[in-house]
């Protein structure tokens, strides 16, 4: 954690404990009475709140501090050339970080392809038994 600031504000007779922390360069966590809210910068540099759906999908979680992954990779690519032996998600499925999305048989081994970020499946671009090249986009996330 880079910087953080704590304060208390009083609105009428209610006290709010506020803890603002800069988790990463473009990620701000605002804790209000132990509830976390996350903000990030959009392309124009404006501060926007992180989509609560991503929060619900587990993209933002508290584990060893805060892990922030929501705005990371939105494309799951094939790490190596091979044949898809199973596709384990459908369009619209919610995936967690670390969840298996497909199996790729390559180089005589079975490779579980996992989502590195949580999200909702936007598009599944491959089918079972399909040959894929290294770097080919298999699945995209919303």
């Amino acid at each position: 954690m880079k910087n953080n600031m704590q304060t208390e504000i009083k609105i009428k007779d209610k006290t709010y404990r506020i803890d603002i922390a800069e988790m990463e360069e473009d990620l701000l966590r605002v804790k209000v009475n132990n509830r976390n809210y996350f903000f990030t910068k959009n392309k124009s540099g404006e501060l926007i709140s992180v989509d609560p759906n991503l929060y619900a999908a587990g993209a933002v979680s508290e584990e060893n501090g805060i892990i922030y992954e929501a705005l990371a990779e939105k494309e799951i690519k094939s790490p190596i050339a091979g044949v898809i032996s199973s596709v384990d998600v459908k369009k619209g499925s919610k995936v967690k970080s670390g969840q298996k999305v497909a199996t790729l048989i390559a180089m005589k081994m079975e490779n579980e392809i996992i989502a590195e970020t949580a999200g909702i499946i936007k598009e599944v671009r491959v089918k079972e038994k399909q040959f894929v090249n290294s770097g080919e986009i298999l699945i995209t996330l919303e």
Binding site: E73, P79, I80, S85, G98, K100, L104, I105, M107, K108, M109, E110, N111, E112, I113, I114, A115, E116
Partner: protein, 173 residues
Amino acid sequence: MEKFKTISSTNQKAKELAKKGAGPWTVIMAEEQKAGYGKEKVFWFSPKGGLYFSVILPKSQIEDLQTLTILAAFIVAKTIKDNFSLEPLIKLPNDVLINQMKVAGVLTENIIGKEIKASVMGIGLNTNIDAFPKELENIATSLKMELGKEVDNEKILEQILRGLKEQLKTISQ
């Protein structure tokens, strides 16, 4: 080393443990597997008596893991040859045969995100199996059936593990 009397699959367990951060060379061994599998999830007959284990491999390059998979079949074949008067053959890349019947199989599984997160290698060796079901009796054999006597699973395990460690050291240098 984690030993189980019964398990669904040693590879499945190894992947679970690897995801939770278990270290390299953690070995998961089971007396029997209820849902042992090989390539493309094909059922691997795993009754009591056989040797079933999986190893969490150190993080390696994918090319090295491929080489190690092929070498694992050689190591299993060599272990059989060194200990018993049998002539195993390797059916590349993953199987070991005796008299054209399958005696062992190797399955390496990787968990990959942007990079390789974990790799496990499972080996099933038909050691002290007395008989196979009808659908397998013409394609599978065991060391006990070939030799007419029991073999020492622990000793074989130890030799295979030693071979894997030595080979991985050689190829990843």
